[in-house]
Structure formats: C-alpha cells, structure tokens
C-alpha cells in the first residue's frame, strides 16, 4: 500500500485542525454528556434497587393482628398472636417455604465501654442473615446454629451501635451489657443502603440468639415471622396457606383480612421493578434525545465544513485525483475527527464517573448522596452511542464529499 497519500491527507488534516475543532468539541461534548447522563441514570436505578433490597429481597413478614369477623361463635376483636411453636407448625405444613425465622424484639438498655444507650434488641436465629441481608464486616460473623443450641450470649450489632459504644475501636470480642446480662459482640453489620425498615435502620439494631432473648424478655409471643419462599412466585400461595393454617390453629376466619398482617416484599418488588423500568425508559429517551440533538449539531457542522471544501475537491479532480481518492480523504478525516472527539469524551466521562465513585457514601437512611454518587459506567451504552453517532457523522461527512466527487469538476471549481 502506498502510504504517501494518507500521509499527505494527515498533514492537510493537521493544518485544518482549527477549522474542525468545533466539530471535535461537539463530538466530545455529545459523548461526555450522553455517557454521564446514562451512567448517573443507571447508577441511580442500581442504588434504588440496593436500597430497596436492604431489608431483604424475597421476604414475607407475618404479624399478628385482631379479628374483624366473628368465627365459630367467637366474637370479633380477638387478638391473634404468633408463638415460637408456629414456626415448626408452618414449616411442616407448607413445603413451599425455604426458610422461616422467628423474631422478637424490645427496646432495651445497652451499655459498654462506660457508655449507656437504649436500642431495639432482636432475638432471632441464624437464618435471619439470609432473609434480611445481614452481612458481617470482615473479622466478624452473624449468629449461627451453635449459638442457639449452646445458649450462648453473643450479639451481632449494627455499625452505628458499634460507633456509639466503641467509637473507632473494633467491637468484635468485646462485651456489651443488655438488660444487665453480658453479651459478647461477634460481628458488626456491613454498611448497606436500606430504604424499608421497621424499628429504624438495621444499622441501629442489635441481634442476639432467640433462646438468649427469651431469657431477658419474658413475653412468649413473637413480634413477627420472616419467610423466604422456595420461589418468589409462591409468595401469594404461602400467604393464603398461612391464613388457612393459622385460622384453623387459632380459630379465625381465613377470609379475615385483619387477623394477620403480611408485608410481602416480593409483591412490592414487582411494583418497584415497574417504577425502575419506567425510570430506565425515561432516561433512555432523555439519552436518545440528547444524542439526536448532538448528532444534528455535528451533522450540520460536518456538512458545512465539507461543503466549504467543494472548490478544493474541484481542484484535486482537475489535477487528476480519482473519486475514491477524494472520498478516501474525507473518510479518513471524518475518522480522525470522530475518533478524537469520542475518545476524549469517553476518557473524560470515564474519569468523572470513577472520581465520583471514590466519594465516600453516607449510609444514613434516605441520604440523597447515596443514590447519586455511584454512577455506573456502561460500555454497552458507549458502543450503542458510537454506532449511532458514527453512522450519522460518516453520512454527514461522506455524503457531500461523495456528491462533490461525482459532480463535474467544473461545477466544484466554480463553487465559492
């Protein structure tokens, strides 16, 4: 291949750089703004999803209630409570249940390290971790089956509890006093986003084995039961089976909507998924519109720049340039421009996204920063953007050049 012509084109391109700098900037800006918009939009959706799943992603919570219908001669208005034995009763009768966990809690005095606070203390079992997204920080762990079986006095604490009692020191292995009973801290909850909660965010909670809890709180009844179905699609069936079984056991009408309460995150998830899809579509449309506006601008500039060079094309044709030489030159120049503008747009967007992601998050509930400061860069979006803008830019750069190269050289020479 004779490289002299491309070399000459490169030198011409370099001399004309100032003239085309507006196109390069438009391409740079279009790439940067579209990629940032999509990255922040995607990040927002992901953070929303994380926050929503902070409570647990496939979770049904059951609460006791009060009957609103008379049943088999019993009056309405009776209190329906859940008890520890209901766990095995339901597990044995509903095969669609994967995990079922009891939970009791009370607002108790907690002290350590000379400090005294009041926090909600929860008694539960090891499987609670799977249902309620309780991931320990490195060096610690959540409650396990041996803690329960061995009657151990151990505690898993939220990160604000750790901070309140121990400051920056590692609380694992240290002792805390709950209701005058000493417990050993075995783990601290890893920071997470959480937008759904009861009794406040998990960061402020203390979890101890169910058996140990029953020793400091004499109430037998449970505050709630957590259930994870084998498959998410079983959730409605499980709800209705629980109403039937508990209705039979504690004698209430299974149709009674107030005898038991359900907090079904799976059903809520479907609604939220629809909202997220809506947000994604909205951002997609915004991105597409930004892209079209940018592409129209670039197309216009490109067309004007090529049109301005009609005479130059005429001169080259007159002194013996072939069509493919002319078209080849514009193709190469468009390629240089396109590569330069989009490359710097990509690099800048990538760096902005990376820098923003370095900003530490405040995991306090409903903190705006936590939703906005984790933009997610997407290479696939970049490639889609490249394909669309590439086609538009090449059409706008090549079409007038092609037209000029096919015209009579005289016409091009006369062009002013």
């Amino acid at each position: 291949m004779n490289l002299t012509l491309p070399r000459f084109f490169w030198s011409e391109y370099r001399k004309r750089r100032k003239k085309t700098s507006l196109i390069t900037f438009a391409l740079f800006w279009g790439t940067l703004s579209t990629l940032l918009l999509m990255a922040f939009g995607r990040g927002l959706t992901i953070q929303f999803g994380k926050a929503f799943n902070g409570l647990g992603d496939t979770l049904i919570m059951v609460y006791g209630g009060q009957t609103s219908l008379e049943f088999e001669g019993l009056p309405k208005g009776r209190q329906i409570s859940l008890y520890p034995e209901d766990i095995s009763y339901l597990r044995e009768r509903i095969p669609e249940i994967l995990r079922i966990v009891p939970e009791s809690y009370g607002y108790l005095q907690v002290s350590a390290n000379g400090k005294e606070i009041n926090r909600t203390v929860h008694g539960t079992t090891a499987e609670f971790a799977f249902l309620r997204a309780q991931i320990p920080q490195p060096g610690g762990r959540f409650l396990n089956a041996d803690d329960e079986a061995g009657g151990r006095k151990v505690a898993f604490i939220g990160w604000t509890v750790a901070n309140d009692l121990f400051g920056r020191a590692d609380p694992v292995g240290k002792s805390i006093i709950i209701n005058r009973v000493p417990f050993t801290v075995i783990g601290v909850l890893q920071k997470k986003m959480q937008d759904s909660m009861y009794n406040g965010p998990d960061a402020e909670q203390i979890y101890i084995p169910f058996h140990a809890y029953s020793q400091i709180d004499s109430r037998r009844r449970l505050n709630q039961i957590h259930i994870q179905p084998l498959e998410a699609s079983h959730s409605k069936l499980i709800e209705s089976r629980i109403r039937t079984l508990m209705g039979r056991k504690t004698r209430f009408n299974p149709e009674d909507r107030y005898a038991l309460f359900f907090w079904n995150t799976i059903e809520n998830n479907n609604t939220v998924s629809a909202i997220f899809t809506g947000i994604e579509i909205f951002l997609g449309i915004m991105g597409a519109l930004t892209l079209i506006i940018g592409a129209v601008g670039v197309t216009n500039l490109m067309y004007a720049v090529v049109k301005e060079r009609t005479k130059e094309i005429g001169i080259k044709l007159a002194i013996g340039a072939r069509r493919r030489t002319i078209v080849g030159q514009f193709f190469l120049e468009t390629l240089f421009l396109f590569a330069k503008g989009t490359f710097w747009g990509f690099i800048t967007a990538f760096n902005i996204v990376s820098l923003v992601r370095l900003i530490p998050l405040d995991y306090g509930s409903f903190n705006t920063g936590a939703y906005l400061l984790r933009p997610q860069f997407s290479l696939s979006i970049f490639f889609i953007y490249l394909a669309i803008v590439g086609v538009l830019v090449f059409l706008s750069g090549l079409f007038p050049a092609l037209k000029a190269s096919q015209a009579n050289p005289i016409e091009s020479l006369r062009y002013e």
Binding site: T4, I315, K316, G320, A321, R322, R324
Partner: protein, 220 residues
C-alpha cells in the same frame, strides 16, 4: 494530437436548453501554441473544459493522442488529466492549506510517483519558476504572480504534453503577466502544445494560431 469532430455541448436546465457548443470541428497539432478567443458566453470555456477532459461533449468525437476520449469513465478521464494535461487557471486554484511545495507535489502523489522522483521534480520546477526559496509558503503568503508561477509549476508536475491555460494573465499586473507569458512561450519552444483562452489581443497575437468562437461555433 487533438481532433474534435462535430462536438456539441447542450446544457439542459429544466425546460431551458442551452447549446454552448454547436458542431465544432478542429484539430490541433503537437507543439502548436493556440489561443482561443471570443466574447463572454461564446462557449470558449466550455470548449476548453472539453479539451481538458474536465467535461464531456453531448455528441461528437474527441480524439486525444489517438485515444477516443468520449467513452472514458470518470476515473479514466482523471488519469488522462493527470498524465497528459496541465491546467493553469485565471484564479490560480491552488490549495489554500498546502504549501507551494505540496501544491506542486500533489499531481505526482495522485499518480503514485515515488518520493525520490517527486522530490527531484518539485525542486526542479520550483527552481525553474524561480520560487525555490518560497517553497514553504502558503498561497496566501505569495503575490498573484508568484501564485500563478506555482500553478504553472503544478501544471508541469507530471510533464504533460499539453498545457491548457484559461486566461492565465487575467488576474495579474502587466509585469507578472509578462513573466507568465515568457514561461509559456519557453515551454512552447521546448515542444509542448499550449492552448490558451484569452481576451487580450496582444497576448493572442503572440500565439501561432487564433481560434475565434462566437455563439458556440468556430469562426476561424
């Protein structure tokens, strides 16, 4: 060397039909110095464009160096222009972004001459037109006369046997015009065929033959 037989050129714009050339026949021998004269709109530029393979006739036959030009494709015509014809335009038509050197080198780039040959030929031509020291300048940094000399050097880059000059002195002062004419006359004397369009009787008188055109026909 050049033979035109019954050449017509018709421009059709919508319903309007304009006959720029009407059945023109003429022949030009190798080494002739010819001027084409005629009032504006007489068809002399159209004739020049057809002679220069920049345009094709509507009908008729054009033989250049025993080759029929009529049936050639766009790129074949480009190759003919590149090898056999050198153009000099009234308004120079140099590439504004390229230096004097690059402007002269370009026709050689288009026909694939090696770098060594290009360098030697460009140097030779720049020295011949007395502008070697101006080789790194762009057209905007040169006077009209200097630009036309660069354009002449470019026209000679591939050593074409025919030189077509469309009012080469039209935009120049008399001194620069005289310099260009001196170069053209020198080229003719060295055996090149030169065809020049001009309005200037004095310049035309220095040619071997004058072809007068009026209303698309050859008068003499």
């Amino acid at each position: 060397m050049i033979k035109l037989q019954d050449i017509t050129k018709v421009y059709q714009t919508g319903s309007q039909r304009l006959e720029a050339l009407r059945s023109i026949s003429l022949s030009i021998r190798k080494g002739e110095f010819i001027s084409i004269m005629g009032p504006s709109g007489s068809g002399k530029s159209t004739l020049m464009n057809i002679l220069g393979c920049l345009d094709t006739p509507t009908s008729g036959e054009y033989v250049l160096d025993d080759d029929k030009v009529a049936g050639l494709t766009f790129d074949e015509l480009a190759a003919v222009r590149n090898r056999k014809i050198g153009f000099v335009f009234q308004n120079f038509n140099l590439l504004p972004y390229a230096t004097a050197w690059e402007n002269i080198e370009l026709p050689m780039l288009f026909n694939g001459k090696s770098g060594k040959k290009r360098k030697a030929r460009t140097t030779e031509l720049l020295k011949a037109v007395g502008l070697y020291d101006w080789r790194g300048h762009r057209p905007s940094e040169l006077s009209g006369g200097q630009q036309q000399r660069i354009a002449l050097a470019r026209a000679l880059a591939n050593d074409p046997p025919i030189l077509l000059a469309d009012e080469p002195t039209g935009n120049l002062d008399s001194k620069s015009g005289e310099e260009i004419m001196a170069i053209l006359t020198g080229l003719w004397k060295s055996g090149r065929t030169i065809i020049m369009v001009t309005h200037n009787d004095g310049i035309a008188a220095r040619c071997e033959r004058i072809i007068r055109i009026f209303d698309g026909r050859v008068l003499s």
